[in-house]
Amino acid sequence: MVRKIDRDANRFKQIVRGKIKSDLRKYITHGELIGRTGGEFVSIPLPQIEIPEFRYGSKNRGGVGQGPGDVGTPIGRAGDGEPGPGAGDSPGEHILEVELTMDDLAQILGEELALPNIEPKGRANIIEEKDRYTGIRQTGPESLRHFKRTYKKALKRQIASNSYDPREPLVIPIREDKLYRSWNPIALPRFNAAIFYLMDVSGSMTDDQKEIVRAEAFWIDAWLKSQYDGVTTRYIIHDAVAREVDEHTFYHTRESGGTRISSAYNLANKIIDEEHPPIDWNIYLFHFSDGDNWGEDNRHCVSLLRDQLLPKCNLFCYGQVESPYGSGEFYRELEEAFEDQENMALSEIRNKEGIYDSIKEFLGRGR
């Protein structure tokens, strides 16, 4: 049956894909569906179109909330939905928010962005033994008793010994009847991935840009973790020199000073060689920067990538976040040098809304 809503839904999809009514395209926004995982809110990419109307801007805007907190405590970011009442005014619609697991999130992301599943590299197999309950034994704990088999065996015995009465079908197993499930070891290939996040923390990267990187890394993690059995994440920050840090430091460090991207590439290369030999690992490199590099360093970066990193990794992604200070030349440099490189993805991320396009660019290759 064709429902009335299908017509409207199809029309909406066509608008989003840019097939019809291109004047509405500029009102398309992302991320209205809010999910929650472990106390953190995440927005799930879902295109929306906002019809423009006369409305208030965020400046001087305010409202009323409820809960603890001292004067001056920040309670939310402008643009993350309107706080306060007046948001949904449809009558009597209760909307409930539910917790999500990371697996759910990855699945939703994959579905929304039509991401292909990753085919792990064939050569990188570690054989791992896993136990599967496929066997049967005469002894075992009661909790593993195989009811059906036990019943059948007892029934057979009772019929054979003529102690079964069909009018009163009582079957009582004795010790010899009981059968238990048992396990057999099975060799399974295990696919491991090592994700390297490289970020430029030079003075030109502001908090907004780091926020974008964080959101993007969150989704990349979610997706790759759903694709591999074991995932190790390494974080490298760099300005003119690079060092490896933990996740918290990664997002909260602010350095000043210049940028030498090759320092990070060198460090990543060193860690790969020492700890994550490509023969055993699927290696992913994600580099985020505002594209400002010391001029003479660019050539060095290109040769490092070409000779060292690219042959070793499944995928190298460079995400360039737009910053008020950066020149963005590094993007062009890479674009020129690696035009048809299969395992390199480049993307420019203008703002928060560009995150999903960029993820699609990075992970849409199924590598």
Partner: protein
């Protein structure tokens, strides 16, 4: 006794409906007949996307809404519990897969809404046959689409929707002026035949009762008055008009179908307006009654835990936000308690003794009566204005927040009662939307439209405002202007069909005229 409609309502639910309805009536609720429909989530999403009306006109935004609702459900992010439609009979939708305890809760909640729709004065002017009306609208718009093309009509609807909030929400209650009839040409240059100031008289007495000299003088006087009237440039509208959509209907050069489409959008906007105006009260009232009916009557002991879970789910307050359900129900409970104990009137207001106030109980028992009165006459603005008290703010730890321009964050601003109330009322006034009026429909005597934004300290979003002007221009076809204030400066936004301009108004602004031209 009401007719219980059995639209695919299973027997067990029907029994619950009868029981709930009887309890609701016993508590004094007064409602329209209620028709419950049990739907799958997909069907519910469809109807919810249509704003509750199964037969809406075709438009992509319903599809967008639907996608969001059905995906949100499929991914397990959100779920609509119920929907109620202000209509006679009242339609309410239940979700098939809900547990029985949820259905009970929802039904009780629905009777609360239904009573509110029927009795609250702000709903008194709404169309109670909206179910049929929207279906008619759907048919009309579909026929226009057949005749003039889907894209053309839909784009025109987009433009109308962009202006949808420019209505005068109080106009259903106050007649500000006579309706203007486009075809009423009387008095337009027609010579005056009769002489109204002439007294009736017999022929032979006429010269005496109506002396010719007096008549002549009078005729002359009226003639000169008419001249004056004619020479005075008529201002359109006479007074600034808040119902911009009405003004457009009356004066914009619209084709017949466009006129009808705009009228449809306007009618639906007026239908939905009271729901926005009474969100806190309406939800508070319905929640008050579902909790009363459930806990005192219909819930069985085994359902307690699920009920408590789901009830608190709806009442939950996200840190830093305000839940209209919670605010509404707590305020109503507060009112009931205060009027039960006699905590009102000058004596109460003047009492400063903390202990006396705490123990204050005159045992008047007027609470129930009072909240029924409140549900009849108030809307959210008057409700908050009248009943939000210092004690209440403190008890529920309300605070006001504001936007910090430097950090682009919302921050807690104050816990002062005055400030909280101010913020809350501001956000409720005109549903937290700017008030904009048509000041002149013949600006510069060139048929340009001049709008005026009444500025209360919060600027408009300029990019949106400019795009909205573009839509307005589509309807008006002549240049359109909006006077507003940006960063404390009076500013005029204009769109002449190709270019947007922003320029400061008044003072010595001519030298510093700053133009921001944006190619259309």
């Amino acid at each position: 006794m009401s007719i219980v409609n059995t639209h695919n309502l299973p027997d067990d639910l029907r029994a619950i409906q009868l029981e709930t309805e009887a309890h609701a009536r016993a508590y004094g609720l007064d409602f329209y007949d209620t028709i419950f429909e049990v739907l799958d989530y997909d069907e519910l999403s469809e109807i919810a996307a249509f704003g509750g009306f199964p037969n809406r006109y075709p438009h992509w935004r319903f599809g967008m809404e639907y996608q969001q609702l059905s995906k949100g459900y499929r991914y397990g992010l959100q779920k609509i519990y119920e929907m109620v439609i202000n209509n006679d009979p009242c339609y309410a939708y239940l979700l098939r897969c809900n547990q029985l305890v949820d259905q009970k809760l929802v039904m009780a909640h629905v009777y609360g809404h239904n009573d509110f729709f029927k009795n609250n004065v702000w709903f008194s002017q709404t169309n109670r046959k909206m179910m049929d009306e929207t279906a008619n609208h759907g048919n009309r718009i579909r026929s226009y689409m057949d005749r003039f093309g889907e894209d053309v009509v839909e784009s025109f609807i987009d433009s109308c929707l962009s202006l949808e909030n420019l209505i005068d929400i109080y106009s259903p209650f106050i007649k500000r002026r006579d309706e203007i009839d486009r075809y009423d040409f009387v008095g337009d240059g027609e010579p005056d035949q009769g002489n109204p100031s002439k007294f009736q008289s017999k022929d032979y007495m006429d010269a005496f009762v109506n002396p010719p000299a007096v008549l002549k003088a009078e005729a002359k006087k009226r003639e000169s008055e008419r001249d004056k009237e004619r020479s005075k440039p008529a201002s359109i509208p006479e007074r600034p008009e808040r119902d911009v959509l009405l003004f457009l209907l009356e004066h914009a050069p619209l084709k017949a179908w466009q006129h009808d489409v705009l009228a449809i959008v306007r009618e639906e906007a007026y239908y939905f307006a009271p729901q926005g105006q009474t969100k806190i009260m309406n939800e508070g009232w319905a929640s008050f009654w579902h909790s009363t009916i459930m806990t005192q009557k219909t819930m069985s002991p085994s359902e307690l835990v699920d009920y408590a879970d789901h009830h608190s789910g709806t009442m939950a307050v996200q840190p830093g936000r305000l839940n209209p359900y919670k605010l509404g129900i707590e305020l109503l409970r507060d009112i009931e308690e205060r009027w039960n104990k006699g905590q009102f009137g000058p004596e109460w207001e003047e009492c400063d003794d903390y202990d006396a106030r705490r123990r204050w109980n005159k045992e008047l028992g007027l609470g129930r009566q009072k909240i029924f009165e409140v549900r009849k006459v108030h809307n959210d603005v008057t409700f908050i204005d009248t009943f939000l008290s210092v004690d209440f703010c403190r008890r529920y730890r309300l605070f006001s927040f504001r936007h910090n321009d430097q950090s682009d964050l919302y921050e807690i601003e104050s816990r002062e009662f005055k400030k909280i109330k101010e913020r809350l009322l501001f956000n409720l006034t005109n549903f937290g939307q700017p008030i904009i009026r048509v000041k002149d429909g013949n600006h510069r005597n060139r048929g340009e439209m001049y709008l005026e934004h009444e500025h209360f300290g919060v600027d408009l979003r300029i990019d949106h405002a400019q795009d909205t002007l573009r839509h307005l221009h589509r309807l008006w076809t002549r240049p359109v202007h909006l006077e507003t204030s940006v960063d404390g400066r009076s500013t005029l936004l204009s769109f002449d069909g190709t270019d947007h301009t922003i320029r400061p108004l008044g003072g010595s602004s001519h030298e510093s005229e700053h133009k921001d031209r944006r190619r259309a």
